[in-house]
Amino acid sequence: MSKPKGFEKPIGVKDYLPHAVAKLRRIEHEVLACMRGWGYEQILTPTIEYYDTVGVASATSDQKLFKLLNQRGTTIVLRSDVTAPIARVASSLLKDHPFPLRLSYHANVFRAFEEEAGREAEFFQTGVELIGDPSPEADAEVIALAIASLKAAGVPSFKIAVGHVGFLNGLFGDTLPGRAEAQERLKECLLQRDYVGYRTALAELRLEDSVLRELEGLLRLRGGQEVCERALELRVSDGARDAIRHLCEMWDVLGAYGVQDHVLIDLTMIGDISYYTGMTFEGYASQLGFPVCSGGRYDNLLAQFGRPAPATGFALKTTRMLEVAEVGQEEPVRALIRYSPNRRREALEKAAGLRAEGLAVVTEGIAQTGDGRRAAGGSGAGDALASAPSGRYEYKGTVYDQVFMFDEKGGDPQ
């Protein structure tokens, strides 16, 4: 690759200009306030972690981790999520804090993506972890909180799809006993969202008709409560049944939260099977091609840090929500104060007064020469105060609601 040009930045990272930052901060604020309302307290963890601890434990695959070497030659990763760092904290600094722990976070995370496809190398996530509670109640709580957070962020229309890793594991284990390779192949197809490959694999497995129909029917197990009932009719053993009962109970709890309308059960949802251990879910917003949130139960993670505990949680993809969120923008009232040196004190006192009232105030000194030309604060065309719509003024590219002039003659402010 040729030497980068001055304006270029590494692929996958972004600048956020003031308008976007204001919106991002607003979303972040609303979402964290919502999470606080559910008793989740915010935590900050470092940007860098050890590869051998958090890096290995995280759900991010090895080639997608950003790796660095420190001066001693130890491999460091830029955090790829905040779940693994929180697991580390829960098992170390907070190891004496009784369960359940309810923690929230808002942080930038990093992924080493080689290709384009709208994938960002650095993006913001806002999320929660509920550690130490294995119940369907806890899983429903994080889903209901995800829904509340999406609403708080002003995402206008969205759906949450919920699945369960235990159901698929159980179903394949029961219908294809002792055929680990076939089970893996089917799971891989579902993970890749390759339904054609899934059907082809089934056809090649030479299964009994009834088993074939059951496994093909899996692709249609999508909807509400009735999905659970249909799934319970399948001839499956305890593992899969437990998973379905867990989902049924969650469904009831979600009903009590009054959010069932946003949720659909999809038993083909598979998530990252090496990481998730129970229910998994993803959130989708209309007008956005990629999911806005994902989460699930990961009961094996905490053990890797020495404090085995069940845990569940989710992360919102805050950067993506920026495109669709409809949060009210609170624009400050802007004032411009221009002054000549002999009235500086008076002008700056005025500015302090307005700032105390919550205005955004810009001050600018003007030194005037004998012939009345400005010497400081810039000069030339485009510097003139121009009127802008709705009685405002434009000056040097910014629109002000109020303009004050403290000049030599002691003229009244405009």
Partner: protein, 213 residues
């Protein structure tokens, strides 16, 4: 990605596959025109079917669908394998049937530094890697059959439909990588947000396919 009941945006491949795909849609009872008067139009509303066609270069179809500017799309398995996009592969439409093959001269013998020319560098690299062979993959954009004839590569990886072109150029198929047909694909979000519309299209198409089989 629009809400339920809204117009379904369909990324359609221009050219050969479109004719076969639109025929299949019509057999499934969807009122789709066979051809459009003005073939230069890129966005074509089909209000009778509550759809809008985005006429795309076939190789770009998975990209439109992955980004969600199209809800669903029709694309060959060859493109799907090469582009490796994160989309749902819902249905094998059984049209535009051909195969991806390794092709060489009849007297081909293993060489020390194998070179393979192809329009599908990802597919080719992956295939040879999985077989424990390190080959130099040369990306070409057309007339792949030329490469072994003029000594640019010792073999090629390309699509074979009838094998006629190969025969005329004195080439032979050595291995088949996989069978290729067109697939119905869907965006991850659209598949959830517009599930009813997409599922019903899927069902109608698969009933039609089952009836043909």
């Amino acid at each position: 990605m629009t809400d339920g009941g809204a117009v379904l945006k369909v990324a359609m491949p221009k050219g050969r596959i479109y004719k076969q795909a639109s025929k299949l849609f019509r057999q499934a009872g969807l009122p789709i025109p066979e051809d459009f008067d003005d073939s230069r139009r890129l966005i074509i509303p089909v209000p009778e079917a509550n759809m809008e066609f985005i006429m795309a270069k076939p190789v770009d179809v998975p990209t439109y669908v992955e980004y969600g500017v199209a809800d669903i799309g029709i694309v060959g398995k060859d493109v799907l394998m090469e582009e490796n996009k994160d989309v749902y592969e819902l249905l094998d439409l059984g049209i535009a049937r051909c195969r991806m093959s390794v092709i060489g001269l009849p007297d081909w013998e293993p060489v020390i530094h194998p070179r393979v020319a192809t329009k599908y560098p990802r597919v080719a690299s992956q295939y040879f890697r999985e077989r424990g062979q390190q080959v130099e993959v040369i990306k070409l954009n057309g007339s792949i059959e030329l490469a072994p004839l003029i000594g640019l590569a010792d073999r090629i990886v390309d699509m074979v439909e009838t094998g006629k072109t190969l025969e005329e150029n004195g080439l032979v198929e050595r291995e088949t990588l996989f069978q290729v047909t067109s697939r119905l694909i869907a965006n991850r979000v659209s598949y959830r947000m517009q599930n009813a519309a997409i599922q019903s299209l899927c069902d109608r198409l698969s009933d039609t396919l089952a009836a043909k089989a």
